[in-house]
Symmetry: C2
Subunit: 426 residues, 2 copies
Amino acid sequence: MTTTTLQDCQSLDEQDPLRPLRDLFLIPEGTLYLDGNSLGAMPRSAPARVADVVTREWGADLIQSWNKNGWFAQPKKVGDKIARLIGADPGTVVATDSTSVNLFKVLSAAMSLAATDTPQRKRIVSERSNFPTDLYIAEALCKERGFELVLVEPEDIAAALSSDVAVLMLTHVNYRTGAMHDMPAVTAAAHAAGALMLWDLAHSAGAVPVDLTRAGADYAVGCGYKYLNGGPGAPSFVWVNPRHAERFWQPLAGWWGHATPFDFTPDYRPAPGITRYQCGTQPMISLAALECGVDTLLAADELGGMAALRKKSLALTDLFIGLVDERCQGHGLGLATPLNHAQRGSQVCLTRDEGAYAIVQALIARGVVGDFRAGDGARHKDILRFGFTPLYIGFEDVWTAVEHLREVLESGEWKRPEFNTRHAVT
Amino acid sequence: MTTTTLQDCQSLDEQDPLRPLRDLFLIPEGTLYLDGNSLGAMPRSAPARVADVVTREWGADLIQSWNKNGWFAQPKKVGDKIARLIGADPGTVVATDSTSVNLFKVLSAAMSLAATDTPQRKRIVSERSNFPTDLYIAEALCKERGFELVLVEPEDIAAALSSDVAVLMLTHVNYRTGAMHDMPAVTAAAHAAGALMLWDLAHSAGAVPVDLTRAGADYAVGCGYKYLNGGPGAPSFVWVNPRHAERFWQPLAGWWGHATPFDFTPDYRPAPGITRYQCGTQPMISLAALECGVDTLLAADELGGMAALRKKSLALTDLFIGLVDERCQGHGLGLATPLNHAQRGSQVCLTRDEGAYAIVQALIARGVVGDFRAGDGARHKDILRFGFTPLYIGFEDVWTAVEHLREVLESGEWKRPEFNTRHAVT
């Protein structure tokens, strides 16, 4: 095995056709940002676009903006852009509300569908290490409707698909480990077992190629502020396979999902298609920032789109894994992320029996921003999580990050008290 | 009856102690904005504050902002500010999600409470002319839970409070007519009948004094983008009387409502108090604009607060009603808003058998921005709606608005084709 050098990394950057895309972002000087999986970096276009929405659209055009500046259509306009990243047809995605709220909508809809078509099916299956809010929402709905939530380890999913399962609900890329499910295969398995398939794309939309239509999935939600670079708390998105969109409604039946909201009729009549998954008025300023973020991904279209981004993402995570292996030997680091490309998202998660939190803090103090996720003291160890967003991370960045990690470990600086004081984490 | 003159109006402005507050807003030159009841005007502080959130908090501080810039606490911080405007204790209000979503939460909670305490009560009573999204959400929840939604006219509410009513759900100030309920009396009547009382404050928070605690109400929601001036689609707010806050949970049980969200446990354990009414991550950029809006109302504190704002609001609406009566006689205008101060919000709604839509359009073309609400062809006539926000509307503005209305009616310019082409309205 040949040793990778800084020069190798620099020449990979020089040959990288996606390199110009990093200029779409403003990354602070001195920061090496490996946390785009938690909060995407700010697109260079966002400040001016947001200022325009505030000053011109709100301040000057005032109430007329609902029509004049397209505010009403904005959730569907942004939804159509996101659709291009996840293999969805135009008019089947809407950008609205939070991921938790959207999950509530589609899981409600799926449970209603199951209650009619397959009333004997009363189980929702998910992964125990799914992102917790997904589990909380599912737990609440199961409690409301007399369903049972069954949580299993990833390797036990297939066996859990018994004849009483109504919905299989999974996050495509695991937030802790970066492990990715085989979407077409898992969807096919769910369908073969007679269950509906619901995907949370929080860590995959904009990070890996997704083709919901080809996989034949039933429902999906995803996050606007991670790989879509939509800004803090950006609205989420929701997709429903057109074959279900008009069957049943979801109980968050607000006026934006009404067929004719401005008739102000007292009775609810759901709009056709994905529109009925809207509920109330959306935060237009945050939605404008989300559109800037989605546009950074669409800017890759001429350079090969999500396929090219994926190729670079894998090269980046391969490089990181390889360099950690070469240069950080003997420091007790483990790898929680699969080596197999087909099972890897766009992040790498390292483990360590002790000090994971402090090492992350010491790296942040050096300007290398990753994050920490606590283990459970059993199956899951503490994790050092590093996201590699191919839009703005380069190969030399990977080299530099690993060098900092090596220095933090070799110097023992992570043992300093200031790196060992816990505060709330994201 | 003496005739009011322009000079009278100008001298009222000169004597108005709240006059300086209009400098807190940037209103476009040439616009007389009487639609703050639909979308509040932009606070002068909003562009810089929003730019700071985008450029410094998101762009520079990135993920660290969750702690460093207080993003996690923002919904409760803004909630505490709103609490001061609605007679709520600190720690009992949270600014989050949309009004429709928040209504779903509190109505769910109320129905759960009733199902345990008074299981024989299976009715929700509301007003037929309540804002439709409230009725849609109630309709959905009734369908889900086997309740019945009973819609009545305002004069029939008392009679509808039978022994099978679980919740009385009303909007404090009617969006179409500006008619205001007597909150303490109606709340007491609901309680006397054994029902819970839920208020929607969309057209009253920031518009009229509200004291939820003194009224002893059970639940309330309200809008951030109307009289709170929070910007298009600003997050809404939700209040729960502390006596209920920890009884039962609402099914939108997302991670922001968890007792320890960053333990990432698979089981939901609701946080104490109002925190459990949070669900998912909130749009921080829009939330910052909302705080600017709420601050414009708190700026009135030293000048007499909501009581002083109310006094001016009534003087403005009295003046408008009086001037329309004096100067627009013989043009077929009626008044849908109560003359009785105790029953009037901060808007005045005029009726006309024909041409209401076109008259509003002709006024907008003159820079006088009100809005139109269609009637139902029966009880409710078409409405010309004018909101009077005492923070930025003056007495001469009222004179000017009425003069434009008179000229539009006398000249017949509203009959022009361009004012009679309908488009989507807000």
